[in-house]
C-alpha cells in the first residue's frame, strides 16, 4: 500500500471536531504520556499563538523535552489532543508528515549528518521531501548559511566545525524546509560557554526579525527575558505556572517556581 505524500498545496486532513482559533499555531489539550509505568506528562494544556515565542523551563526530568518532542511526534502522546496549524496529530501517517513539514526542530546534540557536507545537510530535506531542484535548494541553503553567519564553511564536514557553528548549521538545516514553527530542545546545553551567545543571537534574530513562532526549552534566562513573550514552568509533568517574563522573574506565584529560579539564577 502506498500513501501519497502531502504536497505543498495538498489539503491537510483537518480535524473538524476540535476547532481552534484562527491564529493558534499549536493547541495542546490535556496531553498525557507514559514511559512504561512512568507518567511523564500529566495533562498539559498549552496554546501558542502564531508569532509567539514561548520559553519552557524546569528541572531535568520534568517532562519539558518530552513535551516538545510530542509536538512533531518524535514521541507519541497517549491521551489528549495536539493540533498544529489546524492539523491534528493522530496515527494517520499523512497528518504526521504534514505536521513535520510545518515544524523545524533543533536538538541539544545538534544531530547533524556527519557523512554530508554542511551545505548537503541543509539541502537534503528540501530536495528529497519538497522535491526542489538542487540549484534552488543550494541557493536557499547558502542564503540561510549567510543568515546564521557561516557561509564560508559550506563545503566542510560537521566534524570540522566548532559546537557553536554546528548548532548554527542545525538551525539553518531546520529553516531550509521553511517551517512555520521552530522547536528548540535545549539548544545551548551541549555548548562551551563562549559559544552560547552566537547561537542565542541567531535565535533572537529569528524571533525578532522573522517573527517565527518558537518554543524553546532552555535555561538561558537572559535570552528568555529578552525574547520570550511567555514563560512556562514545568514540574513533574504538569505546567505549574506560566506568564510573561517580567511576572515570572519578579512576582512568581508558585513556591516551586521561586525555588527553581533561585537555584538557577546565581
Amino acid at each position: 500500500m502506498t500513501v501519497p505524500a502531502p504536497s505543498d498545496k495538498g489539503e491537510p486532513v483537518t480535524d473538524q471536531t476540535a476547532p481552534t482559533g484562527a491564529d493558534d499555531a499549536i493547541v495542546c489539550r490535556d496531553v498525557h504520556k507514559w514511559f512504561g509505568q512512568l507518567h511523564v506528562l500529566r495533562g498539559i494544556d498549552l496554546t501558542v499563538k502564531t508569532g509567539e515565542v514561548v520559553v519552557i523551563f524546569g528541572a531535568s526530568g520534568s517532562g519539558k523535552s518530552t513535551f516538545i518532542r510530542t509536538i512533531n511526534r518524535l514521541e507519541e502522546h497517549q491521551r489528549g489532543d495536539i493540533i498544529v496549524d489546524g492539523i491534528e496529530l493522530t496515527n494517520d501517517i499523512r497528518n504526521v508528515a504534514a505536521v513535520r513539514s510545518e515544524i523545524g526542530m533543533v536538538f541539544q546534540s545538534f544531530n547533524l549528518f556527519p557523512h554530508l557536507t554542511v551545505l548537503q545537510n541543509v539541502t537534503l530535506a528540501p530536495v528529497r521531501v519538497r522535491r526542489w531542484p538542487m540549484s534552488r535548494a543550494e541557493e536557499v541553503g547558502m542564503k540561510l548559511l549567510e543568515r546564521v553567519g557561516i557561509p564560508e564553511q559550506a563545503k566542510k564536514y560537521p566534524a570540522q566545525l566548532s559546537g557553536g557553528q554546528q548548532q548554527r548549521v542545525a538551525i539553518a538545516r531546520a529553516l531550509a524546509m521553511q517551517p512555520k514553527i521552530m522547536l528548540f530542545d535545549e539548544p545551548t546545553s551541549a555548548l562551551d560557554p563562549e559559544m552560547i551567545s552566537e547561537v542565542l543571537d541567531v535565535m533572537q534574530s529569528l524571533a525578532r526579525d522573522a517573527g517565527m513562532t518558537m518554543i524553546c526549552v532552555t535555561h538561558e534566562m537572559g535570552f528568555a527575558r529578552a525574547v520570550a513573550d511567555r514563560m512556562v514552568f514545568f514540574d513533574e509533568g504538569v505546567i505549574v505556572e506560566e506568564g510573561p517574563p517580567s511576572q515570572i522573574f519578579e512576582t512568581p506565584k508558585h513556591e516551586r517556581t521561586k525555588r527553581f529560579l533561585s537555584q538557577i539564577l546565581h
Binding site: 518524535l74 515544524i103 549528518f113 556527519p114 530535506a125 528529497r128
Partner: protein, 397 residues
C-alpha cells in the same frame, strides 16, 4: 612572566639511528635480531633454491589453460579474452570517472592480465592469447587516458557495469544455432570459475544482506521473524551442507523441465550463505547509528525509506567496509568448496592436474602456484578496501 616558546625536541634520523633504535637497542634485542635474521635468511635461501633450481614449474605452464579456464573449449577461449577486453575498457573509463577505489580495480585488472600474459608466453597456449592479454592490460590505461580527455557520463558507466554481468554470461555461455555455440557450464573451470563464483556471490549477497539486516530491525513482526529465522538458520549450517542441498535437494522441489544449471546452483548456494553473514555485519553498522540521526531525519520530514536511504545506510555501510571486505575475501577462498559437488574451480583443477601421471610428485609446485593466485586476488581486494575506506573518510568523519 611569559612562557618561552620552545622548539620541539630533536629527533634522531638516518638509517644508522633507525637500526639502533629498532633492532639493536640492547644486548637482548641485538641477539634476537641476529638469530631471527639468520633463521629468515636460511628459510629464504632454501625456498629460493627450490623455486629456482629444483621446482618443475613446467607442470604449471604446460597445464596453464586448465588452470585458467578448465575444460572450456580451446577454440572458443577467445570469448573469454573478449570479455576481459570489455571489462578492461569499463575499468579504465571508470577509473577516470570515479574515485580511488575504481582506480585500484583498474590497476588490478591491468596487472593481473599482465601476469597472465607473462605466464602464457611460457606456456603452450602460445603467443596469440598472450598478446591479447598484453593488449587488454594496455587498453585499461588507454581507456583511462581517453576518459580524462573526453567526458564519459558516469550514468553510462553504471549501466555498463550493470549490463556487464549478464553480458559475460551470455558471451561465455553462447546461444545454440549462432556462431557462438552454447558451451555447457559443466566444462567451465579453473580461475575463470573461481572468479565468476566469487563475483556473483559478492554482488548478489551484498544487497540481499542489506535487506535482511533492515528486515531484522523492522517493526513488522513477520518480516523481522522471517529475517531473523533465515539468518540464524543459514549461520547454523556449514557451507558444504548448503552446497550439497543446492545441488541435490533443490532439483527435487523444482518442476522437471526446470533444469537449473549446476554452476548457477553453486552460485545460489554461495549467495544465500554469504547474505546471512553480510546481514549480521550490516546490522552491527546499523546499531552504531545514534537514534538522534533518525530523529533529525524524521523531524526534517523524511519518511522511513528516505531516512534509511540517505541517512542511516550510507553511514552504516561505510563503517562496515572492513568487516565486509574480510567476509568477501573468505567467500573467494570458500569457493574452493564447490569441488565437492563436482565443479573444478582453481583448486579442483589443481587436483585433477596432479592426478595425471606426468605431474607425479609436483604437488608443491601446483599448490604454490594456486596459493600465489589466491594471494594476488585477496591482496587486490584488501587494497581496494583501504582505498574505499580512505575515499569515504572512515574514521575521520
Amino acid at each position: 612572566m611569559t612562557a618561552e616558546t620552545l622548539p620541539p625536541p630533536r629527533t634522531v634520523v638516518g638509517p644508522y639511528a633507525w637500526l639502533r633504535a629498532n633492532l639493536f637497542s640492547g644486548p637482548i634485542s641485538s641477539v634476537l635480531t641476529i638469530v631471527i635474521g639468520l633463521a629468515l635468511a636460511w628459510v629464504l635461501l632454501q625456498v629460493g633454491t627450490w623455486a629456482l633450481t629444483e621446482a618443475r614449474w613446467s607442470v604449471v605452464t604446460n597445464n596453464l589453460r586448465l588452470f585458467l579456464i578448465g575444460q572450456y573449449p580451446a577454440d572458443q577461449a577467445w570469448r573469454i579474452w573478449v570479455n576481459l577486453l570489455i571489462l578492461s575498457v569499463l575499468g579504465g573509463l571508470s577509473a577516470a570517472a570515479f574515485g580511488q577505489a575504481t582506480r585500484t580495480l583498474a590497476v588490478t585488472l591491468s596487472v593481473i592480465q599482465l601476469m597472465l600474459a607473462g605466464l602464457m608466453v611460457l606456456s603452450p597456449l602460445g603467443i596469440v592469447p598472450a598478446a591479447a592479454m598484453l593488449a587488454n592490460a594496455a587498453i585499461v590505461w588507454v581507456a583511462f587516458v581517453a576518459a580524462r580527455r573526453i567526458h564519459v557520463p558516469s550514468r553510462a558507466l553504471v549501466i555498463g557495469w550493470l549490463l556487464s554481468l549478464p553480458a559475460t554470461f551470455l558471451l561465455l555461455n553462447g546461444i545454440e544455432g549462432t556462431p557462438f555455440p552454447s558451451i555447457s557450464t559443466n566444462v567451465w573451470g579453473g580461475l575463470l570459475l573461481t572468479v565468476l563464483l566469487a563475483t556473483v556471490g559478492i554482488l548478489l549477497s551484498f544487497p540481499m544482506g542489506v535487506l535482511l539486516a533492515l528486515g531484522r530491525r523492522s517493526e513488522l513482526p513477520i518480516i523481522r521473524g522471517l529475517s531473523t529465522g533465515y539468518i540464524e538458520l543459514i549461520r547454523g549450517v556449514p557451507l558444504v551442507t548448503i552446497l550439497f542441498m543446492a545441488d541435490l535437494i533443490l532439483p527435487l522441489f523444482l518442476p522437471g523441465e526446470w533444469r537449473l544449471d549446476r554452476v548457477a546452483r553453486a552460485m545460489g548456494g554461495i549467495t544465500l550463505f554469504s547474505a546471512a553473514y553480510v546481514a549480521e555485519n550490516v546490522r552491527g553498522g546499523l546499531q552504531a547509528i545514534p537514534t538522534g540521526q533518525v530523529e533529525a531525519a524524521h523531524a526534517l520530514g523524511l519518511n522511513g525509506v528516505q531516512t534509511n536511504l540517505y541517512i542511516v545506510l550510507p553511514q552504516a555501510l561505510r563503517s562496515v567496509i572492513p568487516a565486509n571486505v574480510g567476509l568477501f575475501i573468505s567467500l573467494l577462498k570458500d569457493t574452493t568448496l564447490v569441488t565437492i559437488i563436482g565443479l573444478l574451480e582453481l583448486l579442483g583443477i589443481g587436483r585433477a592436474v596432479l592426478a595425471q601421471s606426468e605431474s607425479f610428485g609436483a604437488h608443491l609446485e601446483v599448490y604454490a602456484f594456486i596459493a600465489g593466485v589466491f594471494f594476488v586476488l585477496c591482496y587486490a581486494m584488501s587494497q581496494a578496501s583501504y582505498r574505499l575506506e580512505r575515499a569515504m573518510g572512515v574514521g575521520t568523519r
